[in-house]
């Protein structure tokens, strides 16, 4: 089985206390954290009034997506995109279920259309003026691995560059007693077929091959998207391999090669 490959052209990252990839990398290397980190992301892609009203899922997804495009120096409207989230926006799910149980005709139309799993993908394509394809997927604790596979598969079948965005929100309310996720966590990669940057190779194989959590995996480990952090811990420290859960009995092995003089 041939490995799928991709070059990482740009990275975006946001979590509570570490509001950018530079900050996350510094934390992974020496444990320092920036002072006065903002309480929530403020994606410049949205108009100021929308920025304040945007659900957490949309805010973090757009923030990291824009940062990754900026890092790659690639115009956002040119990129097809893959949005990966385990649960979607858990706050909106709680709102929908709570309102349906108490006063169903009071459902807010805006909250309803924001409840779709592809809400962040929709706001992204609208904000960026992007008519390229976008998808939104979930695979429980294999969501990031399957999102990465879809992005790399797009590269393998003719797309020169693709944006991968992964995020999860905090669980709240009654649903939060069954589904557990804490804080806000998102990351994005601009992946290209050819170009400068760390080179990824991915292979699926049998068995669970869990990595011991690194500094980022420990720091944000209670968010449902912590499943992606083995890759980001490796990227932060120049690590050459990472393993991601890819299903009940499958694992995605990643090899990372760095260009010289990087």
């Amino acid at each position: 089985v041939s490995a799928l490959t991709a070059t990482i052209a740009g990275i975006g990252f946001w979590t509570d206390g570490l509001p950018a990839w530079d900050a996350a990398r510094a934390f992974a290397l020496d444990g320092t954290r920036p002072d006065n980190a903002p309480a929530r992301p403020s994606p410049q892609l949205l108009a100021p009034n929308e920025r304040r009203r945007a659900p957490g899922s949309v805010a973090v997804a757009l923030e990291v997506a824009m940062a990754a495009c900026r890092d790659a120096g690639i115009a956002p409207e040119t990129l097809p995109s893959v949005f990966a989230s385990t649960h979607g926006d858990l706050g909106i799910t709680d709102y929908m279920c709570d309102t349906l149980a108490t006063d169903p005709t009071a459902i807010s139309p805006t909250r309803f259309h924001n409840s779709v799993h592809n809400a962040a993908a929709g706001y992204w394509t609208i904000g960026a003026g992007c008519t390229e394809a976008t998808t939104a997927l979930s695979a429980f604790d294999a969501t990031f691995a399957q999102g990465l596979l879809e992005a790399m598969t797009q590269l393998a079948t003719g797309t020169p560059a693709v944006l991968l965005v992964a995020y999860d929100t905090a669980s709240v309310g009654l649903l939060g007693t069954v589904t557990h996720s804490e804080g806000l966590l998102g990351a994005a990669l601009v992946l290209v077929r050819d170009g400068d940057g760390p080179r990824l190779g991915a292979t699926l194989h049998d068995g669970a091959d869990p990595d011991v959590p690194g500094p980022l995996g420990t720091y944000a480990g209670r968010n449902a998207m912590a499943q992606m952090l083995p890759l980001f811990d490796a990227l932060a420290s120049g690590g050459t391999r990472a393993a991601l859960r890819a299903g009940p009995h499958r694992s995605l092995s990643l090899g990372i090669a760095y260009p010289e003089n990087a």
Partner: protein, 399 residues
């Protein structure tokens, strides 16, 4: 793209279980909508409800995934030789080499809604999820994919695609890419969505639900009728000289316009249809039947009719079948792909049910009456919230 052979396909809707029930109802112009009888406080509308889901619990070995959506998935999976076709490709390639890509809009959120409605309140006034619903897997979108993975024993990549009403059309595109890239050799694709409070009251809040049966492309249409459905297809790389039904192309695009309203000039719809035709390597005049998204909302149908008129010759037979099934949301892609495949297989081109007065935007392609014709290519349009569009081209190769 390399053609993909369709080894089995099926749909279960308000018209019944399996393809024979779909074809008979389409031919006889017998709709499946009924007055809304779903939930404790039903809104005054019409729904496409699948009979018997309440009486069809999952086998006990799969009880961890018990919920209305997975019950419908299980019912749909038993029809039309899908499991036999799966056994054949598992024997051919191995379970590791078969992807499972399924679409849904709300998955099993009905179970989450039920947890809130039936929450126990303890002596301190704290709410608790009822014991029978403290199963995390039914409260997350991948409930559907995870259930099917365990129900079928497939071990390849397993993904739940959730792009609202384009979900189970996009599964064909994702599976086609995986097969083309050599990641897998075959795939089980499909989609399932079930009626729930979120969509009934949500679409109602947006003012998009009709109090009558929906009337796609009718000048007096005033909204959609919601429905539920499930369906699947088994696909693999077509061999040289293969006869039968095939997936020939897909096109995906974004409107970049609005979360819940279509682009006024149908920009995204046009890009998706053109992309699918280009990938199939055919001209628009080659298409014999187009199953439209045709939701019966005032905005969608006139935009879609104009986009179709700009792209296709007057000879095309295009229709929306949502008058039969209701809008089955995340299952619409697979259900209406099945209708396109039935058109190829039987020459049965459905018209539109319950519509009488043509919207002025309708070109000659929009057909209210059924027709019979032997066709080589059929298409399906599925468009979703967020301006998420997918078009598919299916073909028939004579033996």
């Amino acid at each position: 793209m390399p053609a993909l052979a369709i080894r089995a396909f099926t749909a279960t809707t308000a018209l019944g279980r399996g393809n024979a029930a779909q074809a008979a109802a389409l031919r006889e112009r017998r709709g499946g909508l009924r007055r809304n009888d779903f939930g404790p406080t039903p809104l005054p509308t019409w729904i496409g409800r699948v009979d018997g889901v309440e009486d069809a619990p999952l086998p006990s070995a799969l009880s961890r995934w018990e919920c209305r959506n997975n019950r419908l998935a299980w019912l749909a999976l038993q029809q039309d030789g899908v499991l036999t076709a799966l056994d054949t490709i598992v024997a051919k390639y191995g379970a590791d080499r078969i992807a499972l890509v399924v679409g849904t809009s709300t998955s099993s959120i009905g179970a989450s809604e039920e947890a809130y409605a039936r929450a126990d309140v303890d002596a301190d006034g704290v709410r608790h999820v009822p014991d029978d619903l403290t199963r995390p897997i039914v409260h997350t979108p991948h409930s559907l994919g995870d259930f099917l993975q365990h129900a079928t024993g497939l071990r390849g990549p397993c993904i739940t695609v959730a792009t609202a009403c384009s979900s189970s059309a996009k599964v064909f595109a994702q599976a086609a890419r995986m097969i083309e890239a050599g990641l897998v050799d075959a795939a089980l694709v499909g989609g399932v969505d079930t009626l729930c409070g979120s969509v009934l009251f949500g679409f109602n809040a947006l003012g998009l639900v009709s109090s009558e049966r929906c009337r796609p492309f009718d000048a007096t249409r005033d909204g959609l009728s919601l429905g539920e459905a499930g369906g699947f297809a088994v696909i693999e790389r077509a061999a040289t000289g293969d006869a039968g039904l095939q997936l020939r192309g897909y096109g995906e695009s974004s409107d970049a316009h609005h979360m819940s309203a279509p682009h006024p000039e149908g920009l995204g719809a046009t890009l998706a249809m053109r992309g699918a035709l280009d990938r199939a390597g055919i001209e628009s005049a080659d298409v014999g039947y187009l199953n439209l998204h045709g939701t019966s909302t005032p905005a969608n149908d006139s935009v879609e009719a104009r986009a179709v008129d700009a792209l296709f010759p007057p000879t095309l037979h295009a229709s929306s079948t949502k008058g039969w099934t209701g809008h089955t949301l995340g299952a619409a892609g697979i259900v209406e792909s099945v209708f396109a495949l039935l058109a190829l297989e039987h020459g049965l081109l459905p018209g539109i049910l319950d519509s009488a007065v043509r919207d002025p935007a309708c070109g000659p392609q929009i057909r209210f009456d059924n027709a019979d014709a032997d066709i080589r290519y059929a298409m399906n349009n599925s468009f979703g919230f967020g301006g998420n569009n997918c078009s598919l081209v299916f073909g028939k190769v004579a033996a």
